[in-house]
């Protein structure tokens, strides 16, 4: 009886609201770009877009890393220092002794997996464990590179400064990353991983190992974090232990902006990529609007609040 009356309510309106909620990250990014282009039409070019979005690539990678952790209802407060560490490894070990550098990066990713296992076995709060971990990453980075410096290996600079035909490089990478992660999360494996965040009990009852799911996601997060460090050092050409500390909060904001939620395994890789790009653009946006760069992170916060407020409004519309 009840079910019938629920079904009877117009599905069309709900679909419109749902669609709007899904498109929110894309709308935010388009609005931002529209304003920039209207202020500075020359930005609407191959070179302009490359400059505007260059720094988005490492942010996107860090955001996707955070997305893996959030997918299993955890939170990673160490991603910023981890990206810094990987950048430092790239600027020193990887350049001077490539084999040792690769080994160090693989070991760092392995530690991520171990931490996932530890959190699962002892049912620990991920926030505190990753907080402790952030000190360890930072310490290791300082040990490897006590003062800012080092040099990026040439192949990284090449990869990050490559100029493909027609499509600006950051956009090309964003599309590849967003699409790749989207397909991975939609694969038969990714379905189980997201299910582990959505209803762990049901998944365990169906015979899946939650430990393996969590470790897999942590390993994915570590890999993406390492790639973020490599991309960052490829752009800046030198390393610094503190260079990516802001990525921790930025990556969380990016995932949330992209439609992800803290619980229930609800993540959206394409949205997260758009969210990360929006947050990166917030800086350039201000420059074009002739607002001092002091307000850059403030603009990021404002965008986050506006999008969250819009989402709250849409959610309420759907409930009604």
């Amino acid at each position: 009886m009840t079910a019938a009356s629920l079904n009877a309510r117009g599905p069309a309106r709900f679909d419109a609201v749902r669609l709007l909620r899904m498109l929110l990250p894309a709308i935010a990014l388009s609005l931002m770009l529209a304003v920039i282009f209207s202020q500075q039409p020359r930005a609407m070019s191959y070179v302009g877009l490359t400059l505007l979005l260059n720094l988005a690539v490492p942010v996107i990678l860090a955001t996707l890393s955070q997305l893996c952790i959030i997918a299993i209802n955890d939170l990673d407060l160490s991603i910023g220092s981890f990206v810094g560490l990987c950048a430092c490894i790239a600027a020193t070990l990887l350049k001077d002794t490539p084999l040792l550098g690769v080994a160090a990066l693989v070991a760092a990713v392995g530690v991520y997996g171990l931490v996932g296992a530890l959190i699962h076995w002892r049912a620990l709060p991920s926030i505190v464990v990753t907080l402790g971990l952030s000190f360890i990453w930072m310490g290791l980075a300082v040990l490897i590179l006590p003062t800012p410096g080092g040099r990026a290996p040439e192949f990284l600079t090449t990869v990050m400064k490559w100029k493909p035909a027609f499509v600006p490089l950051p956009i090309l990478y964003a599309v590849i990353l967003g699409l790749g992660m989207h397909l991975l999360m939609r694969s038969s494996l990714g379905t189980i991983l997201r299910g582990a965040g959505g209803n762990p009990k049901a998944l365990a009852n169906a015979g899946w190992s939650l430990l393996r799911a969590r470790v897999t996601l942590y390993l994915m997060a570590g890999t993406l974090g390492a790639l973020s460090g490599l991309a960052l050092v490829g752009l800046t050409t030198s390393g610094d232990a503190n260079m990516a500390l802001r990525y921790t909060l930025l990556s969380i904001a990016g995932v949330i902006l992209g439609g992800g939620e803290f619980t229930g395994g609800r993540v959206n890789p394409v949205g997260a990529v758009l969210g990360a790009m929006t947050l990166t653009l917030a800086g350039s946006f201000l420059t074009f609007m002739h607002i001092p760069p002091d307000w850059q992170i403030g603009a990021q916060g404002a965008i986050l609040i506006i999008v969250l407020a819009l989402r709250a409004v849409l959610n309420r519309a759907e409930e009604r």
């Binding site: 620990l124 952030s134 407020a309």
Partner: protein, 326 residues
């Protein structure tokens, strides 16, 4: 036929032994051990200096930690990420309003604390209206406030009023004034937690939000109070820090974010909520400072010190944390 008549392990109640020592003693003991090791290495030289520096620097961490502790106690996953922003903003406002004049100290303090507490109210409203977890609310407000603090404080090279600077760096009866402030706040928080409706509500809320509501405690008011107090304490820390270090700086709050969580958790406050250990924060703050001092004395680099801090946090949580004791 084999039958499994044995009771399942879950039905057998585990024998529980109660610890004799209260939780907050452990970090204090650990701090004492670290201090002893440092002094043995240095042959006992500089004991008084180390102690007084440790107490003074710990005081600032304790003040921030007390606020973070209240937020963490309010339930699983609750953390205040806007603490650094509150510190930077309050420091900048205080210095600007005081403007180096002794007569404006009270006004500056009031303005700074008012701004910080307004941030607390804003955080609460974001949580309520947007139905988002405290972490996201404080994260977004922190970004905005940090920007305000930077824009407002840029180029601000105002020294604190002499009387205020003297207070922040001075001592009374041999104890640094900052430590006295922190001690008074600790005592107040202890009293509030044990003997007020707010304190009991907060502890109940952290243990079980639904049960707290059904027991008729004022849950929403407690959340608001917690949000405001956390921001207020961070603001106070910002003002004192500016007075102590001869002026405010743009990112003076940065190191306090992770540190405030670390001292709270190492101090024995439950991350799952419902159990607060204000005295443990002292032990944890002293411990973290003394470890750095010890490793310094041993001649180890900053990297090793950071790693040691991280290893301690992970070890403490891996041993003590975990499943909520049921």
């Amino acid at each position: 036929m084999i039958t499994n008549d044995l009771p399942s392990p879950a039905d057998v109640a585990p024998a529980r032994r109660t610890l004799v020592l209260p939780v907050w003693v452990w970090p204090l003991l650990a701090a004492a051990v670290v201090l002893a090791m440092t002094l043995i290495y240095s042959g006992g030289r500089g004991a008084a200096d180390i102690m007084s520096a440790a107490v003074t620097f710990s005081a600032l961490f304790v003040i921030v930690g007390l606020g973070q502790m209240l937020v963490i106690t309010s339930g699983p996953g609750n953390v205040d990420l806007s603490i650094p922003a509150a510190i930077s903003l309050a420091g900048a406002i205080a210095m600007k309003v005081m403007d180096g004049s002794n007569g404006m100290i009270v006004a500056g303090l009031a303005a700074a604390l008012g701004a910080a507490m307004a941030l607390g109210v804003a955080n609460y409203l974001l949580i309520r209206l947007l139905r988002i977890p405290p972490i996201i609310a404080t994260l977004s407000s922190a970004l905005i406030v940090q920007s305000i603090a930077i824009a407002y404080g840029r180029g601000l090279k105002i020294k604190p009023p002499p009387a205020f600077a003297d207070f922040c760096t001075g001592r009374t009866l041999g104890v640094s004034n900052l430590a006295l402030v922190a001690a008074v706040l600790t005592a107040i928080v202890l009293l509030v937690l044990a003997r007020t409706v707010y304190g009991r509500t907060l502890l109940a809320l952290g243990q079980n939000q639904r049960a707290a509501r059904l027991a008729g405690t004022p849950v929403s008011r407690a959340r608001l109070t917690t949000s405001v107090v956390s921001a207020g304490f961070a603001g106070l820390c910002g003002v004192l820090l500016a007075g102590f270090s001869g002026g405010s700086s743009l990112n003076m709050g940065e190191e306090y974010l992770l540190a405030s969580i670390a001292v709270t958790v190492i101090g024995g406050t439950s991350v799952a909520g419902g159990r607060a250990e204000p005295l443990g924060i002292w032990g944890a703050a002293l411990l973290l400072f003394l470890i750095v001092t010890m490793l310094n004395t041993f001649g180890l680099s900053a990297g090793v010190r950071l790693i040691a801090t991280g290893v301690i946090i992970v070890t403490v949580i891996a041993i003590g944390g975990g499943r909520k004791a049921a």
